[in-house]
């Protein structure tokens, strides 16, 4: 059974088609980076996988279940989704604890089946893993961008999902924090057999940390294995010239 299987996917908004005939298969727990130029459809792909956008055509299977027509709750509870931070309404005075435990809302919906103590323990555990356990009583909107990003990651992780869908989780993080988050994600894949699908603009990060890089371009997807020299060469050739120029390259990959 594939973890993710996408065949001939087309998706879009209104009259605009963003993804067309996209194919992608992930067969084992992996760290997958989704890269591509602005507006290529990276977030659209993630929204389809998160059940936020219904495909117009094609087949989408998650953990062996066809979610193209109807996205069952049994699959949603196995996904951890971290949207971009601009979707958040900062007018609501919620604490870090409130945000983290909201990740359990579909695991233990009303009537409540998990005790408060258990919820607190789980929140503390995941917050501790992300180094934010001393911030549980702080207000979310008063944190820095980097800390907010960690809180959102903790919210996604608290329900122990099989698949993590992350939409630019490294934005607003300094390099040290980026490395910490990437190490944690890598750990989740290697030790806990999770699948991480991360949208990023950073080609260097994608090449350094991923098992698979998915380049979304002109509505379709091409996959590359970062460890394979020929694949890296092909990826760099495929990546649009104008986008490549703005990527701060830390390491030379070829030549």
């Amino acid at each position: 059974m594939s973890i993710i299987e996408i065949r001939g996917l087309s998706a879009g908004y209104g009259r605009k088609t963003v993804l067309s005939n996209l194919n992608l298969v992930i067969t084992k727990p992996s760290f997958v980076s989704v890269i591509g130029p602005n507006g290529a459809g990276k977030t659209t792909l993630l929204r389809v996988l998160a059940g936020l956008l219904r495909p117009r055509g094609g087949l989408v299977k998650i953990l062996g279940v066809d979610v193209s027509k109807k996205f069952p709750s049994s699959i949603k509870v196995r996904l951890g989704y971290v949207p971009q931070r601009d979707s958040i309404n900062y007018a609501v005075p919620v604490t870090v604890f409130d945000v983290i435990v909201s990740g359990l809302i579909d695991v233990c919906p009303a009537p409540r089946t998990v005790t408060k103590r258990e919820v607190r323990q789980r929140a503390c555990r995941v917050a501790s893993a992300l180094g934010i356990d001393d911030l549980l009583d702080s207000y979310f909107h008063e944190l820095s961008g980097g800390l907010q990003q960690r809180v959102l990651l903790a919210r996604a992780l608290i329900k122990d999902p099989d698949i993590l869908l992350l939409d630019e989780p490294l934005s607003n993080l300094d390099e040290a924090t980026q490395q910490e988050v990437l190490k944690l994600l890598r750990h989740l894949v290697d030790k806990h057999l999770k699948t991480v699908i991360m949208v990023t603009h950073d080609l260097d990060v994608a090449l350094e940390w991923s098992d698979l890089v998915v380049l979304i371009s002109r509505g379709g997807a091409r996959t590359f294995k970062p460890g394979v020299h020929e694949d890296v060469e092909r990826l760099l050739e495929s990546y649009p010239e104008e986008e490549r120029k703005i990527i701060p390259s830390r390491r030379p990959y070829c030549g």
């Binding site: 998160a50 949603k76 989704y81 949207p83 909201s102 809302i105 579909d106």
Partner: protein
């Protein structure tokens, strides 16, 4: 009489505490104004029809018209919200219904205009047993729903995108939340008047949400402010010859400003 006023104030305070907080959280202040004006338009049309066809408008007619209008407005706003145009559609309905209200009120005879004026300034002292019964049922139902779906409503208010990605019926809950806010708005318009509705449903939530209070403390404090304002204004108006609605608006604003200013001074 005093017991009924006290009971009504208690129900309104309880529900408006939740409503003002959730309206501020979900940025639905415009929905309150829109529903309030739609209620006014609906009532003016109802009274015009009764004037033309020569029948007496009862409390039940008024309540039915209000609930019908609320449902329509709320569904329209909720549907449009999905497309991110909540403010736009609210503004259009707001302008349209206010114009309709002004138009039909101008066509009414003097005695019916006086009745319509009651909906603007409020008449908590004129509450009937039927009104009290309807208000108590609506209040108990809405408070139960607000409490039961507290976490869900909070989540859809601060991160709707994430709520949609979870297994909870976020779209349905969003409609329910809008419906509850709208229902309480018409309850307030009917019992305490349009002017007081604005102050008790918009001011405490908007100001307290900026005062670094926890969400549940905010709901409790909002309810306390509304209760105190309603009772004080009724009490004061029996000594001073001024309408309780005006007093209530002033007291709500002053009491809500205290935590907000305290926060500004502290920081």
């Amino acid at each position: 009489m005093l017991g009924e006023v006290l009971l009504l104030s208690l129900f309104i305070a309880l529900t408006s505490g939740f409503t003002t907080s959730y309206a501020a959280f979900s940025r639905s202040e415009f929905l309150i104004v829109t529903v309030a004006h739609s209620a006014l338009a609906g009532l003016s049309v109802l009274y015009y029809i009764s004037y033309i066809f020569g029948f007496q408008v009862s409390s039940m007619h008024e309540w039915l018209m209000l609930v019908l209008l609320t449902t329509v407005v709320c569904l329209a706003v909720g549907r449009i919200r999905e497309h991110g145009e909540k403010e736009l559609i609210s503004a259009v309905i707001f302008a349209l219904t206010l114009s309709i209200a002004a138009l039909f009120m101008a066509l009414l005879p003097g005695n019916l205009i006086a009745r319509m004026w009651n909906f603007l300034t409020g008449s908590i002292l004129l509450v009937t047993h039927l009104d009290l019964l309807i208000v108590s049922v609506i209040s108990l139902v809405t408070c139960s729903l607000y409490t039961f779906f507290y976490r869900e409503f909070l989540l859809i208010s601060y991160d709707y995108e994430y709520a949609l990605s979870t297994g909870i019926p976020a779209r349905l809950l969003n409609y329910i939340l809008s419906m509850l806010i709208s229902l309480i708005t018409i309850v307030c318009v009917y019992t305490v008047g349009l002017f007081v509705t604005y102050s008790i449903l918009m001011i405490p939530g908007t100001l307290l949400s900026r005062a670094r209070l926890r969400t549940n403390s905010m709901i409790v404090l909002s309810s306390a402010i509304v209760l105190l304002s309603l009772l004080t204004s009724v009490l004061l108006s029996s000594y001073v010859p001024v309408p309780p609605s005006g007093l209530c608006g002033i007291i709500v604003c002053v009491l809500s400003l205290v935590p907000y200013l305290a926060r500004i001074i502290r920081t």
